[in-house]
């Protein structure tokens, strides 16, 4: 009998757990450890943040799903990993601390044969003084609760606008090394759309504050695609939308601190600015969860398993090299740790070898570059492929991972909402192939021109809405769930 422990129940971990249970014979155990009681379809949090959805519409309890699928669910957070076991036992363990009401704080050692670290990001609000809703001065849509709180504050802004006051809304990222610019973009344009449809747009100034060097970078170095007989790029395409909707953009910015009603920031050009605001939604940078690792003798080997940013080291090429020498092959494909081959890192939890966007810093040395996104479709695919590799190693005698899911050989479909509404909504529908540019296969643009596309329209909104219901159906593991691709 083998036991596979999955840390985290987000898109990647939950997908891995469901596929493991689907493929593994019943004698093998699948254990999921997650500190959260609920699953959250995070892409729809932006609609919670403008009051179009409730937090209940984007979440559901995990325990009943796991009970039905016969997956052992432990509501707890992982504390440390002992990949060589302890002194008395050679079987690897992970130490967990329960968050389940009634057992909160209780520690437990869980033995494993295979471990998938899908713990996602730690929302690192602390990287920027004053950032975030918990003790800070800005809002967030990173969790359903954050988004619900943001919706309340947005409703207050609307009330003030309706009373004739003017308001300045700043939306973007709260640090020079943030990722998920796409989510900030979506929230900015949903806010703009809500204000416009209520006839309040002329009293509101909407500012998009981003660490991207140019609009349309989205942390993937931008995209090039063919449109109406021309080769164009995501920068022009995105700028066009900002121009059309009269949204001010501040680019190449690193937020230094946030105070009550004020954002202090610096730019790649070396300028410093103070932005006063009435409403600010700024996404935090990410780091890995605070997991530690110990060898059999109790020696700390955290740096063997984890990169300094807390993300799990996998089969990537982490050799520091200049941007010009970055290769698609630097990116991992099996997601196995090179030292402990039965430990895997998927989704945001794996350590990327470097950014995708060109790295930039100020003359003073402040790095202002988007971190690489690895959410959504790529995240789900990694979870699935790692699960299938583990199944092959347990049941088919494979001695190494059999499946791959490199971001340099997979594409991504991304639908960025630009306003909700069955007949008035719009969204930017983008596809790119591959996610990480491969300049050896596609020397001119790094990606396939045929498979990298973008368009704005109501159809995109329908697609995003459809995906919301489809992926929540899939995550609930209802009949036919496995037929829905990641």
């Amino acid at each position: 009998m083998a036991r596979v422990v999955v840390l985290g129940a987000g898109i990647s971990g939950h997908t891995a757990a469901l596929h493991l249970r689907r493929k593994l014979r019943r004698e093998h155990e699948v254990v999921v450890v997650s500190p959260n009681a609920d699953y959250n379809w995070i892409p729809s949090n932006i609609w919670v943040g403008v009051g179009r959805m409730t937090s209940q519409q984007v979440t559901f309890p995990l325990a009943p799903v796991y009970r039905r699928k016969k997956i052992d669910f432990r509501q707890a957070r992982a504390v440390s990993i002992r990949p060589e076991g302890t002194g008395s036992s050679g079987r690897p363990t992970v130490e967990i601390e329960y968050t389940l009401p009634g057992r909160a704080g209780e520690l437990e050692q869980v033995e494993y044969d295979y471990l998938i670290n899908a713990t996602g990001p730690k929302l690192n609000f602390a990287a920027t003084p004053g950032l975030g809703p918990d003790g800070g001065h800005s809002l967030s849509v990173c969790t359903a609760d954050h988004a619900a709180e943001t919706a309340v504050r947005f409703a207050e802004v609307i009330a003030k606008l309706e009373a004739g006051e003017r308001q300045r809304l700043v939306i973007g990222v709260g640090h020079g090394m943030c990722t998920c610019e796409g989510a900030a973009f979506e929230y900015a344009f949903n806010v703009e759309h809500e204000l416009r449809t209520r006839g309040l747009r002329d009293r509101a100034e909407v500012i998009y504050l981003t660490n991207e060097h140019e609009l349309g970078d989205f942390g993937v170095g931008g995209m090039t695609f063919e449109q109406n007989g021309f080769v164009t790029n995501s920068q022009l395409w995105t700028e066009s939308l900002f121009r059309e909707r009269d949204v001010t953009a501040i680019v190449g910015a690193h937020v230094q601190r946030v105070e009550e009603g004020k954002i202090f920031y610096e730019t790649l050009q070396g300028e410093e600015g103070v932005l006063e605001f009435d409403f600010a939604m700024l996404l935090p940078p990410f780091k890995g969860q605070d997991l530690h690792a110990f060898d059999r003798s109790g020696q700390d080997i955290t740096d063997v398993l984890f990169a300094p940013n807390g993300f799990l080291k996998v089969d990537a090429d982490y050799t520091p090299k200049p941007y010009e020498d970055w290769r698609a092959s630097d990116w991992p494909s099996t997601y196995a740790n090179p030292t402990y081959g039965n430990v895997f890192g998927v989704g945001i939890a794996f350590a990327p070898p470097h950014q995708i966007s060109r790295p930039r810093k100020t003359a003073g040395g402040t790095v202002i570059t988007p971190a690489p996104p690895r959410t959504g479709m790529p995240s789900g695919l990694m979870g699935r492929q790692v699960a299938l590799s583990i199944v092959d190693m347990i049941q088919a005698g494979a001695t190494a991972p059999t499946r791959t899911a490199s971001m340099s050989s997979m594409g991504a479909a991304c639908v960025a909402s630009a306003g909700a509404g069955v007949f008035k909504g719009t969204a930017a529908s983008m596809t790119m192939f591959p996610v990480v540019p491969d300049r050896e296969s596609y020397p001119e643009h790094g990606r396939s021109l045929q498979d990298t596309t973008g368009e704005i329209g109501l159809a995109g909104h329908w697609v995003k809405h459809f995906l919301h219901y489809m992926f929540i159906y899939k995550a609930k593991a209802l009949p036919g769930w496995s037929l829905i691709p990641e």
Binding site: A249, G273, L275, E276, R403, A412, S429, D451, L458
Partner: protein, 68 residues
Amino acid sequence: MSQNESNRAAAPATPAEPVAYPGELGDSIAPAPTPGTVRMRTNVPYQLYRFARVNMRMAKMIRRSHTH
């Protein structure tokens, strides 16, 4: 990027407003859509067609990415 000066002037206590915010994107050369293009973005029959096209494109992408 054009800036709505009337909005900015009326924004909360910001004395001596600068001409532009540090880091603000200047006048963009990006093409602005015509009113017809904007209308077509929410034209239901046309968007039904685009819905089918977008789904086909995404299905192709997903199929290609699931073959490893």
